[in-house]
Every structure is written in C-alpha cells, then in structure tokens.
Symmetry: C2
Subunit: 331 residues, 2 copies
C-alpha cells in the first residue's frame, strides 16, 4: 500500500544551531517542505534581521527545506522590534514563560508583561506562538493553569491576534482551543503516543521526557480524537527537539524528544490505527499552512506501507522510538 500526500509542513521544530543544526536539519528536510524553526537558539533569535540570517543558515544547511521565520518574544520585544520583524517577513513570535523549557531562562513570567508587543503583532498580522505552561505550578497542572490565567484573557483582549497554542497535551486544551475563535493548536507526534507512564511508569525513560510532559491516557485519547476529527484548528508541529545523548542520560536531563527521523512514519501508523489515514494529509499538510496564511505546498511525499526501523542513534542524538520497527516508510 502507498499513500501519496501533499508535502507536509512542520509548524514547530527545533533545528538548533552550530553543528547540531548541520546534523539534524536534514531529517526534517527529508519529510517536510517548510518548518517553523523555533528561535530558542544560543543566542536566541530576537529580531527580524536575526530571523532572516537564521533562515539563510537553515537553507544552506538543509537544501530543500524552507524555514518559516519566528522571533522569540522577550522583555526587549518592543512594538518597533515587532514592526520591523513583520516588515522583513517574520511570520510569528514565540512566547516561552520563564524557565519552563530548554533555553527559556530569558522568558517573561507572563504574557501580560509583553502586551505592547502583542498589540503590535495583532496590528501587523504576526502570529503568537505559545508555550502554554505557567511557571511554578505543579507539573501536571501547568498547562491547565496557563489556559485560564493567560490564554483566555489574552485571546479575548486581542480578538484579531492569531494564536497557536503549541504542543498541547491535555483534554482541557483541546476544549479551550475549540472554544476560542482566534486560537489554533499544534499537536506533536510523540504526544499522540506517550502518556506519563512512558516516562516514569516503568523504568525512567529520558528519551520520552519533554515539556510539556505527556499526561494521562484520557488526555492522549483527546489528542488522538481531535487530530482525526478534521478540525482545521489542530495541525502538526512535531516539536522535534534534539539533545546530545549525554545531556539526556545524565543526572539532570534535558527535555525534548527527537522525532524528526520518524515523524511521518509514526503519524501514518497512528492514523492507520485510528482508521483515519484519509485525515493525515489535512492535518500534516494543509491546516497549518492555512492558519499561517501560506500557500499549500506543490510537492508530494510518498508513504509506503513497508517496515521502517528507526535508527538506534542518529549521530549523538537518540531518536524517538530508537531501534523500533514501524509499519510505514517514507519513499
């Protein structure tokens, strides 16, 4: 069996910088036409100019992959910074609450700290991408807390601001996104497979450890149901996030799951298990582009129902489902 779909976009991915970028971008390029490349690099991408340079770098390192530019929203993100970024074609700005994930130490505590920037973004049609967790709240409640304290009031106060709640992990988030006209959500590959049990329920599995942490079986089920529902507000953003193995298997391990080498193969398997292969293309290749106001890709991706073994290691990075056999391959 084969499936030929419009080439997908990854609406949330960490391509990093330096040698890691050179190493991992090819995996994303092999499956996706475009990538919303996250700006929490070292140093971070804070301005339109930096975003342009980073985009050029990505194009050189991963020919064929078109970056969608994003800047990081920090205290210094003035309306002028936003205006200039919009003029240079930056599509979105990403908000990381302080300390909730990798390289987020320079984040703000709250969206209310960057309201002038939000106003400018609304005015210039720039999308707000959110890591939706409240710092300091108990880990299993952080995302729910953010919905009530930040997302709801901000989405209502800026009704023309387009917002993407990234990598949602809970049933609550699905409901909130459905209920707010200007809010969409990305869903990762790994959150369609994992629950907290896959991190701490048996042995401790650092390569399944990510932020936001995978939640309960009922939460995973809500994500699975919404991605096959055909609701255009929910689209693929893998949040593929590579870390060197020694930064994962250590006494203080980094958060992030590296799904780039197997993203579409795993998705095909999940959608097949849910008897919804016909919904895969819209979720992976259409809804994201539409929300971002981008043309759909012309290229195609062929998925073949032939076994694919995920590499045990990709250089210094252990991928998601390392060494496991999947039912679908990318041709």
């Amino acid at each position: 069996m084969k499936m030929n779909i419009r080439r997908p976009d990854d609406m949330h991915v960490h391509l990093r910088d330096g040698t890691m970028l050179s190493h991992v971008a090819r995996y994303t390029a092999s499956q996706f036409a475009r990538a919303v490349a996250m700006p929490n690099t070292t140093p971070p991408i804070l301005t339109g100019e930096q975003a342009i340079s980073y985009g050029d770098l990505i194009r050189r390192r991963a020919p064929g992959l078109e970056p969608i530019a994003v800047i990081k929203l920090v205290r210094s993100s003035t309306p002028d910074v936003i205006r200039e970024a919009a003029r240079l074609g930056v599509a979105a700005a990403k908000f990381y609450p302080e300390g909730v994930t990798t390289n987020s130490e320079d984040g703000c505590r709250s969206l209310f700290d960057v309201e002038p920037a939000l106003e400018a973004m609304e005015e210039h049609g720039m999308i707000l991408c959110l890591h939706g967790e409240t710092p300091g709240v108990f880990c299993m409640d952080r995302e729910r807390s953010f919905l009530h304290r930040e997302l709801l009031p901000i989405a209502r106060r800026y009704p023309r601001l387009k917002i993407v709640l990234e990598h949602i992990t809970t049933e609550d988030s699905v409901g909130f996104v459905q209920g707010l006209a200007n809010v969409a959500a990305t869903v990762t590959v790994h959150h369609l497979l994992l629950t907290l049990d896959d991190v701490i329920g048996g042995s401790l599995r650092p390569h399944n450890f990510c932020k936001p942490i995978a939640k309960r079986p009922a939460d995973r089920e809500a994500l699975r149901q919404v991605v096959i529902s055909g609701d255009p507000k929910f689209f693929l953003g893998t949040d593929s996030a590579p870390h060197d193995v020694f930064l994962k298997e250590c006494s203080s391990g980094c958060a992030g799951v590296f799904t780039a080498p197997c993203a579409m193969q795993v998705l095909a398997q999940v959608f097949e298990d849910l008897n919804s292969l016909d919904r895969l293309e819209a979720f992976s290749s259409e809804f994201g582009a539409r929300f971002y106001g981008l043309p759909l890709n012309e290229g195609r991706l062929e998925l073949v129902r032939e076994p694919f073994r995920v590499p045990a290691q990709c250089g210094s990075v252990v991928p998601f489902l390392a060494g496991q056999d999947l039912r679908w391959s990318v041709a």
Copy 2:
C-alpha cells in the same frame, strides 16, 4: 544543639547482595540498630532458611546492624513455607505486585493469588509488608487503586493479620491506614521532601526517581503532617535503594533513591522545619519496633546541629541530595 535519641530502626531498606551489600550496608549500620532488609535480592529470599543465611551475611558485612528477616511472597509461598519461616523467626513477608518495581517480575498479580499464605501468616503472627500499587494502572493512580482493590478487602478478611503498607505517597493512603485497625505504614525520607516536580518538573532527575513515584504537593503535605502527628501507625522505613550510577543515568533507568548516607540528618531537618523535633524519636525508633512486637533498642544515636555535606557519590552510587549541605549531622 544536640539531640540524643534511642537508636532508630529502618523498617524498610534494600541492602542488596554481593559487592553492593558490602558497599552500602555500612551506611545503614552507621545510623540504625536494626533493618528490615528487603528480600528482592538476586536470587530472591523465598524461605526461612534463605532468610537466615541472608541475615548472617548482613551481620558479617555490617557488624552492629541486626537484620529483621523477611521473605518474598510469591506463587510458591505455600502455607508450609510460611509455617517454616515463622518457626525460624522470620518476622514478615513482602508482597510485590508483578513488575511494579526492581526485581518484581516474579511477583503475583494480586494478593488474592496468595490467600493460603495470608491465612498462614495470620495464624503464625507473621507481618504482611505491601508494595501497594496495582500493575497496569496509570502511574499517578496505582497506589489509590491498590487501596480499594487489594488493601481494603484483604485487611477486612484477615483482621488479625498485621499489615504494613510500605512507602506511602498519597493523602488517600494516610486516610486508609488511619481507618484500618490492623494496618500501619512506613514513610520514607525522600517522600517527605519530593514531589513529582522534583523528578520531571524541571530537568529530569533520575536520582529522585523511585516507585511509588512522588506525587502532588498536597500528598507530601499529608505525609509530613502524619509523621509529626504522633500516630504510632506511621513509622520510618527509608526504602533506601542503591543502584549503580550507570543504571540510573541511562536510557532506561532503575527506580530507587539511596538515602542511607543521610537518612537521619534529613529527617532531623524536616522535623525541625515542622517544629516537631520532639516527635522524631518515636517515629524513627519506637513505633516500628512496637508494631513488629520487638523490644526497643538500648543504644543511642546523637544528632548534632552541625553542617553535613552529603557525599557527591558513594562509590558507584549517587546518594539522595548528593553534594548538598544539611543542617544536622550524626555524631
């Protein structure tokens, strides 16, 4: 400031076997007079004879530490096995549901699978020690599930069977133990300090990873309140569980926190923080012995309010709070 208390007992500790036993037993011996030494060794301690041999081994490796003998309750634990173990002075039998923790692959699915053994234990006054988690249930709900499905019916069916629910982690468990006349509980040192946030809330912390997993702040608070309440049904069992560092910091890490090198120092700090230093001795040195029907220790332990730095590593094992400074020392 000094505090001179009756020498404490560790009513739940993993001393292991082979070179690990030789290495770790001294830490327990330096603080505790007696130790309920868990039988999930390799191979396991299944009979009275094996328990006697294991006890002799512990005495040779850790002079001054008196082991309290326990056998492991498995499918082959017939009433004859129980009777013979009781005759040889074995105090307790430990039930591990299949697959819930280290070396529990040979466990039973349910207490109802070993009812003839339970009857014999009740008859011979042998204590039932429980790892109270239901296999296959979502990790955050496993302990609660066990209370309803196993502990409650078994405690009622065998009202003269003395039961210890080990290493409790939830507010629910505190309430259940208080409500059942024949049930007591051990509380570990680390569950008085940790919540799930200390495992997965920031970086991934394998040295805080244990079974049952630390739960919510409200659960930790319930444990803290009950250990200072003076309720004799709650006593110290550290569940100190050493693993080589390479089995913790790896792709599939073992569960267990090694608290033996700092158990009483940490406890003194916790009880002091709760303005309850006067409750430490009963919790650590009296309630456990009384529930087991053992005489109280004659020896003393002196705790001094002088800084103690927990070793960064104890040989191949990383201890709880490695490298951190505590306020209390053992003289």
